[in-house]
């Protein structure tokens, strides 16, 4: 029950904020990718910086017990990112943004989602043929993070330096870059 309420509240918030941020506007995505408009890059860097900083500070102070969940690194992440990148540039949508804007009744977003459902279906069907190939060979020992997150089975890339200085430093670097990049033109 609590989980359901949380899912509704967080989903509503995420959809609302994604839409207002301009990320759900394919014009903004394409203009970011063809390097004509820095608005969304600034948003993304600021969002990663803010969330990462809050996460590591509050975990460090013991304020929260965060639910770290890191995905495995394997060859398919790279190959998948190549295919994903092509589709993203072509359409100007990614998954979250297409869902948020489909909620407004935008037709091309619905078509994108239909294409996505077919893509997911095809993947589901071919998975048994590709699962034993090099695509699923692990990289960096699988689940890996740059810093020690306190989760014992994650492989840590940068050891011997305090978690806060690396994670916090990266987060602040992202925020600084977000501020330095030129402000966007109005659409």
């Amino acid at each position: 029950m609590t989980q359901t309420v949380l899912a509704i509240v967080f989903g509503l918030l995420f959809g609302f904020v994604l839409y207002r941020s301009g990320a759900a506007n394919p014009q903004r995505i394409i203009d970011m990718l063809r390097l004509k408009d820095a608005h969304l890059v600034k948003v993304i860097l600021m969002a990663i910086g803010t969330s990462s900083l809050l996460l590591f500070i509050s975990a460090n102070m013991g304020l929260i017990a965060p639910h770290f969940s890191v995905k495995t690194a394997y060859v398919g992440v790279v190959v998948g990112a190549v295919i994903f990148g092509a589709g993203w540039a072509l359409s100007g949508f990614c998954l979250g943004t297409s869902v948020a804007v489909a909620g407004t009744g935008r037709k091309d977003a619905w078509v994108f989602i239909l294409g996505g459902l077919l893509g997911a279906f095809v993947y589901m069907v071919i998975y048994s043929d590709i699962k034993d190939t090099v695509l699923f060979d692990k990289l960096f020992d699988g689940k890996a993070t740059l810093v020690d997150t306190g989760v014992s089975n994650y492989h840590i890339l940068i050891e011997g330096v305090s978690t806060m200085s690396v994670a916090g430093g990266l987060a602040i670097l992202f925020i600084i870059i977000a501020f330095i990049l030129p402000a966007s033109k109005k659409i």
Partner: protein
């Protein structure tokens, strides 16, 4: 406050901070945000309603369900279980995202132009205003994005945002490769 909520688009700073807060709160309270898995679940629900034996109860499976489909059966039948019981956190989250977008659009003080809502201007400038053409390529785009996201095990939300905030190596890999491909693709496709 009300005026802020009704703005058509927020500036980058407010957008970035609020988006960051949503990602932080979800990791702090439940788990990182992810969207692409739910496309598999929805497909599975439809498929299962046509062929009843796609997902079956199986006490030997770790999650209590198994499937003749290898993908749905992996990780102890995790996806199979979610198809059998779609009312769970991740699925409702995505449904609520639709409503979040709808709400944002309805509350907006000035409407978007009809033209911009049918297709982005940059598309029109490069490929003309045929909606059939736009739909065809957007469909292909959606297909590629989902195949890519499933192969990679996540998308911009799961890998890029949620991953990088946790300093996940796979998140950095995904983000870097995605931009390395998407930027030249967009520059070639959209010259005007």
């Amino acid at each position: 406050m009300i005026g802020f909520l009704r703005n058509r688009e927020w500036n980058w700073l407010s957008s970035g901070i609020l988006l960051g807060l949503v990602f932080f709160v979800t990791v702090a309270v439940v788990k990182p945000i992810g969207v692409s898995t739910q496309f598999v679940i929805l497909d599975g629900i439809v498929w299962n309603s046509i062929s009843k034996d796609l997902v079956v109860k199986d006490e030997k499976a770790k999650k209590g369900y198994s499937s003749p489909n290898t993908y749905l059966n992996k990780s102890g039948g995790k996806y199979a279980k979610n198809i059998a019981n779609p009312v769970n956190y991740s699925f409702i989250f995505v449904i609520a995202m639709f409503m979040g977008g709808f709400l944002a659009y309805r509350l907006q003080s000035s409407p978007d132009s009809k033209e911009d809502r049918s297709m982005p201007k940059v598309w029109r400038d490069n490929f003309g205003s045929s909606s059939t053409k736009r739909y065809l390529f957007v469909f292909l785009g959606g297909f590629l994005v989902l195949v890519g996201a499933r192969l990679a095990g996540g998308c911009s939300s799961g890998h890029m945002m949620s991953g990088m905030m946790q300093t996940s190596v796979s998140g950095y890999m995904f983000a870097i490769v995605t931009f390395l491909v998407a930027v030249p693709t967009a520059r070639i496709l959209y010259k005007r």
